[in-house]
């Protein structure tokens, strides 16, 4: 590496003469490059996540435009209050996550760790409510496709053509995929928490905390779209 250029950039980062701090991977020239790469990578990844969900949103709007009455009738079977509670959980967790990132940036690792724990707790609470919702659906046979029990339509044969099995199919695949993302998010938060406890982050190096934060906000954002589209159909 050409020392003249690199030394200057290191000084800028506040690392003085320490050419390779422990967190700097060998193939990067300086911490700025590593941080820039990690952030760009994360944003691209979030882009792929959005594009993936966009396919599901398209499927949802297709179904809704084709069978508006069916969607309207069957969305009533979703529990609005549980959905609202979960929305509250996730929005609050986004706040605690943002605070955790901020604390990490200013070097308050202890506070950051506690806030991460609170975020994890909200994530788990979301999954508990999800579990309750799902078990109620299973109990009443409100399921996708063939598993849909026909008796729920009050004895009236709903009919397969554009029937409720379509709505519950979309419901389960959208909330299910989102739930998987919440679980992955919780896993990442635990990982970040453990690293924080071990003192891996400082005011100079906190990129992983930031990136997990971005991911968690995306999970939150997707839910903010899912909730009105599925639970509050007008």
């Amino acid at each position: 590496m050409s020392t003249a250029v690199d030394a200057g950039q290191h000084a800028e980062a506040g690392h003085g003469h320490d050419a390779h701090p422990a967190y700097l991977q060998h193939h990067f020239d300086n911490p700025q490059q590593q941080e820039g790469a990690a952030k760009l990578g994360m944003w691209l990844f979030l882009g792929t996540e959005l594009l993936m969900f966009s396919g599901l949103f398209l499927a949802y709007f297709y179904m809704r435009s084709q069978y508006p009455e069916m969607v309207h009738e069957y969305h009533e079977y979703l529990n609005k209050w549980m959905g609202a509670l979960n929305t509250l959980f996730l929005i609050t967790s986004s706040l605690t996550m943002a605070l955790a990132v901020r604390s990490a940036q200013v070097g308050k690792a202890k506070l950051s760790g506690r806030l991460l724990l609170v975020t994890i707790a909200f994530g788990l609470a979301f999954m508990v409510v999800k579990y309750l919702e799902y078990s109620a659906k299973f109990e009443h046979g409100l399921l996708p496709g063939d598993a849909f029990a026909e008796h729920v339509a009050g004895g009236v044969q709903a009919g397969w053509y554009g029937g409720p099995q379509l709505f519950f199919g979309i419901y389960f695949i959208m909330t299910g995929l989102h739930g998987v993302h919440v679980l992955i998010g919780i896993g990442l938060l635990v990982w970040i928490y453990v690293k924080t406890q071990r003192g891996a982050f400082s005011g100079n190096y906190y990129t992983p905390v930031e990136n997990v934060g971005l991911y968690w906000h995306l999970v939150d954002l997707i839910w903010i779209f899912l909730f009105p589209l599925l639970y509050l159909v007008k």
Partner: protein, 563 residues
């Protein structure tokens, strides 16, 4: 090299103690757990070549079957329903051939195998931005491939590589389709990981002085490809997920009997799979730009035009998917629009072809093996591209749709384009990758066999398609036999040429002459390090102060005329 100052590179005596990346560490584990982009690239290379071989053998088997109008080779000699067994086997074979070639071979062939090896070298970087992600993408690819192979062994997979609904959700029990779709889904993730890694690498890992306008065109091509991989593949992932869901629960979203829409599936599928065509061909364009310029010792004509045409192809490729659905019942307005946009892709593509030809003009051309493949590419790809216009035209497409004309067209583009470029690139960078030279004359013979075999195989199929021979049939009317036999013989010649190539390249690995650091006199950074490169690519970070096509012998008084 003369205009690219590379501080401290090359002079071997200075760094005699530094070993090349093969010798830097030893043992099977040092390969399987490597984070070195060069080793990962080579593991990919071995993998994709195996896949190419397997899928190629399958093609030869059904080309042999197609020598005669009736089903014979694939059917058991005796017994009731033996013809049915043969037909079903035929359906399985072409599905395998397509799925393996597309998902396992062509998509990763240039970016993940050659690209992985070359991208950091050409950028003057030590590695890609995320080496661990890079290794992960390899194992994800391997997993996806194994699942796909399992699907094949599991039973009757005969949907074709496109998995069209409702057939793919109702045929032969769900197991093989579910497995195959899972395999493609997993392979998609591998592709996303590579793409993401490459985009970040190009943005963040360029050597000092390597501005966007000094990047080799191969990098521009890999970059455009990576952007498509990142933007399109997630849509494939969700499509396949919906298809899996459909198979598991019979939701009905793609099933007309239940109020769903199979055309919706087609929209989803082609929204990925048309851009995917450019994931396959764009890296090929990059290779050809390098080969044509270096081996004709002339500055590439229209550098910016070629670079930006890659980007504009990447953009337009997202707007043309409907041309696969002209006869599916989509609205006529949509068809007309998609047809128009399809023609629009021809413009940036033609810019590239004209630029290559203009680069050759008055160049000092060496007719070595890479250059021969470059010339073959221009010839066959032009045919492939122009026949694409026949298919993009609404009226002619109605006639050609689902015929051998389509088969011939995409083989001219995919095989005559991408695979030819891949083989050309393999020869061009062979000295760099393995530190050995192959025998030029052997190379020329191979190129000739491939050229003749390829054109005989697929030109015959243009004729067959125009005469009305539909694709994907094990049996056909006797009047088609002549062209079918010609096509089959061509495929045997092609196979012989490819086998020959494989053999002399393997021989060169063992007995080839030692390659110098820069055997072709290239000016881009990969030629500035030793052959094969050291583990960290460069002894010192290189600095770039000129563009990669400023060959030392170029007469700079002439150069102004090019731009």
């Amino acid at each position: 090299m003369a205009t690219t100052t590379v501080e401290g590179a090359a002079p071997a005596h200075e760094h005699a103690e530094e070993l090349d990346f093969y010798k830097a560490s030893r043992g099977i584990k040092s390969w399987l757990l490597t984070l070195d982009h060069k080793r990962i690239g080579l593991m990919y290379l071995a993998g994709v070549l195996l896949a190419f071989f397997a899928a190629g053998v399958i093609a030869i088997i059904f080309r042999a079957e197609l020598m005669t109008p009736q089903i014979d080779l694939l059917a058991p000699a005796v017994g009731e329903g033996s013809a049915t067994i043969g037909r079903e086997l035929y359906n399985k074979l072409f599905t395998l051939h397509g799925a393996m070639m597309v998902f396992v071979f062509i998509i990763p062939a240039i970016p993940a195998a050659l690209g992985n090896f070359l991208l950091p070298l050409m950028l003057g970087a030590k590695d890609v931005a995320f080496p661990r992600l890079n290794l992960l993408s390899f194992y994800v690819w391997l997993t996806g491939t194994l699942i796909l192979i399992l699907a094949i062994l599991a039973g009757q997979l005969d949907t074709g590589w496109t998995f069209y609904t409702p057939y793919s959700t109702s045929t032969h029990g769900a197991a093989p389709v579910v497995l195959a779709v899972t395999g493609a889904f997993v392979l998609g993730f591998s592709s996303i990981l590579t793409g993401l890694n490459f985009v970040v690498t190009v943005h963040k890992m360029r050597a000092p002085g390597l501005t966007w306008n000094r990047m080799p065109l191969m990098i521009w091509a890999l970059y455009s490809t990576a952007v498509i991989q990142v933007l399109a593949t997630p849509v494939l992932a969700i499509t396949l997920l919906l298809l899996l869901f459909e198979n598991a629960f019979n939701v009905g979203i793609f099933n007309p009997a239940m109020g769903g829409d199979p055309v919706l599936f087609q929209h989803f599928f082609w929204f990925y799979s048309h851009p995917a065509v450019y994931i396959m061909i764009l890296p090929g364009f990059g290779i050809i730009s390098e080969i044509i310029a270096i081996h004709s010792r002339k500055h590439i004509f229209g550098y910016k035009a070629i670079a930006l045409s890659s980007v504009s192809i990447a953009v337009i490729s997202f707007l043309v998917w409907g041309h696969h659905m002209f006869v599916s019942g989509q609205s006529e307005f949509a068809s007309a629009l998609f047809s128009f946009l399809t023609f629009a892709v021809a413009v940036p593509t033609a810019i590239k072809v004209f630029s290559w030809v203009a680069t050759l003009y008055k160049g000092s051309i060496s007719f070595n093996t890479p250059m021969l493949y470059g010339l073959i590419f221009i010839f066959t790809f032009s045919i492939g591209g122009l026949t694409g216009l026949h298919l993009g035209t609404l009226s002619t497409d109605v006639h050609f749709h689902d015929s051998y004309f389509v088969v011939a067209h995409f083989h001219y583009v995919m095989m005559g384009g991408t695979v030819i470029a891949f083989i050309g690139g393999l020869h061009h960078w062979f000295p760099k990758m393995f530190g050995k030279m192959y025998n030029e004359n052997h190379g020329r013979i191979g190129a000739l066999l491939v050229f003749l075999g390829f054109n005989l195989t697929f030109f015959s199929q243009f004729v067959l398609g125009a005469q009305g021979m539909p694709r994907r049939y094990a049996e056909y009317d006797p009047e088609f036999q002549g062209w079918h036999v010609a096509s089959s013989i061509g495929s045997f010649i092609l196979a012989a040429g490819l086998l020959w190539t494989l053999i002399y390249l393997l021989m060169a690995l063992k007995n080839g002459k030692k390659a110098t650091a820069n055997p072709w006199g290239g000016a881009s950074l990969e030629w500035a390090t030793s052959s094969p490169p050291i583990a960290h690519n460069f002894h010192d970070t290189p600095h770039v102060d000129s563009d990669p096509y400023n060959f030392p012998e170029i007469d700079h008084t002439m150069k102004t005329g090019h731009h």
